[in-house]
Symmetry: C2
Subunit: 397 residues, 2 copies
């Protein structure tokens, strides 16, 4: 069986994603669709609208056959680390082609990345460390080499996937297949009337407490019903912000400086801004914490790392120990897994063992527990994210 891979957040899964799944299959002729999906938090550093189990189920209903969790240590990271983690997992899971949407679907991302990579390797001054400036430096070189700069978000992600393929030495093993994005882009908030809307637009509709039928043009029945109930956890601006304030106010600066990416004076800046904004809302605080040096997403991620108390040391350990955590499968997905599993080099986690909680899964476990604690509905509050859970199963194929 041949598998095509998708790198996803599905926050939440909508008709555009279903179209993407169908296209990936059609374009590659693959038998099985394998998705790597962010867990309970998405890349820009906020809790996902619904937990990983509910989102995995919607993905299966939408045509995906096998869903693996992108561990927190890769999911909530700058694009190049996110991309590298996702590509590594898909490659290990035996995927031959990764299909992704791009604003410029006609670009040869692998060729571009190779040119940039060669130039960078030739440049002795460029460090291969995963520093914050890495992605920017790469794009700078690309602009220099090919004469233009990637500015659209999905193009940039595609370029990050291509770079990951090269750096993981997967050229020849993994092919990248961009598809031209149609309709709503990530940042577009307008709902379009022909059954495809961006996830952002759908989340905004949710903020307005829209009814099930309002969502039905853009998502499946089950997703529409979930969306009508509102987000699973409290919004950042309330519970999470208070948890951030509490953490920062009760933690000595030397300890805050241990938090991942709270470097170069950011810990001090955070402490100062939290102190000055004790009585203000999150938006006002964030405007003050913002700096030209860092993107909004990067700063938002530092806030999440702080609430979750994730140190640099812990993050490095977690990044060094990837795994394939199964969130869900169809009958077909299961058959693929059974057939291929022996070839995987990463551990496949089907059901969590006690040792995992303090070991390989420590970060995801902690993140999942906070996600659970900050749930807004009693049923979700009572349901653990990692212990006692087995992958979602859907009969198909």
């Amino acid at each position: 069986m041949e598998a095509v891979g998708l790198i996803t957040e599905y926050n939440p899964f909508h008709n555009g994603h279903a179209y993407h799944v169908a296209q990936a299959k059609a374009l590659t002729g693959a038998d099985v669709v394998v998705a790597v999906m962010s867990g309970n938090y998405v890349q820009r550093g906020v809790p996902a609208t619904f937990d990983k189990w509910q989102r995995a189920e919607l993905a299966l209903l939408g045509g995906v056959d096998l869903v693996f969790e992108l561990p927190f240590a890769f999911a909530v990271q700058p694009a190049h680390i996110f991309a590298r983690g996702a590509v590594q997992l898909l490659a290990d899971a035996g995927v031959k082609t990764i299909v992704f949407g791009a604003e410029h679907g006609d670009l040869d991302f692998l060729a571009l990345a190779q040119q940039a990579h060669q130039r960078l390797m030739a440049d002795k001054q460029f460090s291969t460390d995963y520093s914050q400036t890495y992605a920017t430096a790469f794009n700078d070189v690309l602009a220099d080499v090919v004469g233009f700069r990637l500015t659209d978000p999905n193009d940039m992600l595609g370029f990050a996937y291509a770079t990951a393929v090269i750096e993981l030495d997967l050229l020849g093993t993994i092919t990248l297949q961009p598809i031209q994005r149609i309709k709503a882009g990530y940042h577009e908030t307008q709902l379009v009337d022909d059954h495809i809307a961006s996830a952002t637009a759908i989340r905004e509709l949710m903020d307005k407490q829209a009814s099930t039928t309002s969502f039905l043009p853009y998502v499946g029945q089950q997703a529409a019903e979930l969306l009508a109930q509102g987000a699973q956890t409290a919004p950042w601006s309330t519970t999470w912000y208070q948890a951030l304030q509490t953490k920062v106010m009760t933690t000595p600066i030397a300890e805050l400086e241990q938090i991942y990416q709270l470097t170069d004076g950011l810990a001090y800046r955070l402490q100062e801004q939290v102190a000055q904004h004790l009585a203000t809302d999150f938006t006002t605080f964030m405007a003050a914490y913002k700096s030209k040096r860092y993107t909004q997403a990067r700063l938002q991620r530092t806030l999440l790392y702080t609430v979750l108390n994730i140190t640099s040391a812990e993050m490095q350990t977690a990044m060094a120990t990837p795994y394939l955590r199964m969130l869900g499968a169809t009958t077909l997905g299961r058959r693929y897994l059974k057939q291929q599993r022996d070839k995987f080099s990463l551990p496949v986690i089907h059901k969590v063992e006690k040792d995992d909680l303090t070991g390989i899964l420590a970060l995801d476990y902690r993140a999942g527990r906070l996600y659970q604690l900050f749930s807004q509905r009693p049923a979700d509050l009572a349901k653990a994210q990692d212990t006692g859970r087995i992958p979602v199963f859907i009969e198909r194929g």
Copy 2:
């Protein structure tokens, strides 16, 4: 001018306290009433109903002339440390007599404590460390020497004051004057109809959202108005409990073990019980965390230390650096202060300086900021507890 000293929590100040103030003056013939009062948290480890400024003002209105804050490092502690801190502050402030209510007002507490102390000193096995078993050991010896055991809460506190006088070498400098407690005891929740009710009964009335007029039989006008608005900070069972869960879930066990009094396996027990009770209410959690070995108050204090992230090392430092933080004064109180201040050996803090916040006041500052953050009313949320505040002043005397 001669001063009489009171050791108080005033949570909140009521007619019984006013009676106590008047009696203290009448019995001793003192010119000035000096109270040492718990700050934003009371001895049993919960936030006070109103902040220290509002409670100090009510105390001044009720007849007290000078209010000093009992620092967190003494206020939220087992009785013997609480007593020692309070006696030390009053003695330094030039107080000659400490008046306190006792269930057995006819006991000679100093004589009893002296007998117990002599016996203890003769016993080489008894450590003078402030260990948890200290108070119990003292009472055991007392029972052995004088043939009975103090069981009523105010009697026990009186005995702790007497022990502090002896240990601080203040015999002959400080006199203790018990007065027979009348009417409502601390633990009595029934409101009595002749203008005196216990603080517990008043807080319960507040939980029922009673009107100003319902409180007026038991407290002054200003207190009644405050009480009708409900408690200043969120109740333990909501915001504070969630902060506790968040802290415990995101903190490694080795770090939790650094928290003050989270010793002898308590850190592990706390971690385990929080994990098991993520979705349950505070009462259910507390019933599971409870153990025969420790009192409810002691366990509740460990929860507060945990939320505030107070380590043993910090607490030891804070206990070693007492100070006289002025919360309020009448005209007479000011005059007394002016006259006596040169004789004080402890620093008097009138207005907080920036260095104090990371120095001598670090613990109270942090505790006050959480108290502020968890305020339920916007006006309180906007008002810092320690920075930019000056003592409350009332013209009298």
